[in-house]
Symmetry: C2
Subunit: 255 residues, 2 copies
């Protein structure tokens, strides 16, 4: 009896035509049957956003041996939900977001459509990984990360992940990687975030921009720090946001 | 020397004209100086989404004693970021999202623009609370919750919150509240999520819908369960998503 090949669902937030997602398919297609459902246009900064005020549609754009690619009018999270509902005839063995053009370490995890994909897969009980390269340029070179991405993917396919936990993998742009590190989410926030975008009608317009401000920079386990040192970082993230350590004290505060 | 009144920044995801946000202002305006910066149209399901592909603008729509209201073209998270950058001359003492028209308990926390607001405030080091009423109708009655909302707001203004922790408050629609409970985020996912939206051009269109499937329904500490029993629930949530319990094992798995 032949065992079915693993089924891998892929999406991203840079859009179906981005280099990163197509390179990802190339790097891991030997590991299973690939279905891509990705946004028809760039959707960076989508977080876990859903499309509520309009209907969502999709269509197939390419089908070849072991790889089928769809584009979708919705957000990255919509893509995962819609693929699970309308395209796939069985539960995927893995959901992958990426490869993102840009860093999703530290607090970026909250704004990232790549992580939105991963959180959605994880909520559905599917092992899920987000891959991000710390370079947002359209033509950046993903090739140096190819082997590491295939290795991490294969390990998760084999070993699975704990219930409610998914992986946020970030890859630095360096001459040679120092190694792979399990890390924690760096604390901080974005500052100086708005760049004026003058318009002759006089209304104030702004482009989102900013610089990351690290809190607790002495913590040496963080993704932000390890990336700066040249490591590929793998931060395990939980979809249960409960601050368990504060529940009891909160009950007293409310009484 | 007169102490400054607390400064409270409010936003929502139902839009600046929604009943819920205007009722919130009415319920808590005696507690401080209120600045509202809210989306100019409904933005439900925004999560922590940002506006990246276009510039964002805002304008004042109302100013009266102690309350100033702005509308913004961006997402709920943009609203908080933009208010902090362009409107406020000091750091607010509190950021509040809501009152949302609809339930943000359980895994809804990931998709909720209301919680996006709260996470943004928390990342900036400001005590932050999201209020949601479990009824999405435009004309629903928020009045029964007025006193509780003012009390919780006042307690957080006085006592603050631990660093990196914010509050997700959900209010059931019941003849009488059983009380207020500190709860945990119920585990689960949304299923049966797409409703066909036929169109004569033949492409498949879908509206987002769905029903919540609870995992581990025997856990009696959850927000989902307590809401069904008639309690107002307060779930403390953390902005640090690291799954700390898995970091060490992950490092072994990667080696």
């Amino acid at each position: 009896m032949r065992k079915e090949r693993p089924l891998i669902l892929i999406s991203n937030d840079d859009g179906v035509w981005a280099k990163g997602i197509n390179e990802l398919v190339r790097f891991i297609r030997h590991l299973g049957e690939i279905v891509v459902m990705a946004p028809d246009s760039p959707r960076s900064g989508s977080g876990c956003a859903l499309t509520v005020v309009s209907p969502v549609t999709y269509r197939m754009v390419k089908k070849e041996e072991g790889v089928t690619i769809y584009q979708c009018s919705g957000t990255p999270t919509d893509c995962v939900k819609l693929a699970l509902h309308t395209i796939l005839d069985r539960k995927p063995d893995l959901v992958i977001g990426g490869i993102n053009h840009g860093d999703n370490s530290a607090v970026n995890v909250h704004y990232s459509g790549t992580i939105g994909i991963v959180i959605e897969g994880c909520l559905r009980g599917i092992p899920s990984i987000g891959f991000s390269l710390c370079d947002h340029r359209a033509e950046t070179d993903f090739q140096p990360a190819a082997l590491f991405i295939a290795q991490i993917t294969e390990k998760v396919l084999t070993a699975g992940l704990p219930s409610g936990v998914c992986l946020n993998v970030n890859i630095p742009v360096v001459p040679a990687y120092k190694g792979i590190k399990a890390t924690t989410q760096a604390k901080g926030y974005w500052d100086c975030e708005w760049e004026p975008c003058p318009r002759s009608n006089g209304d104030p317009y702004f482009w989102l921009t900013g610089r990351f401000v690290e809190r607790e920079p002495d913590t040496d386990t963080t993704d932000y720090r390890a990336l700066q040192e040249g490591y590929i970082t793998v931060t395990p993230i939980t979809v249960d946001l409960t601050a368990y350590g504060f529940v009891e004290q909160l009950q007293k505060m409310l009484s």
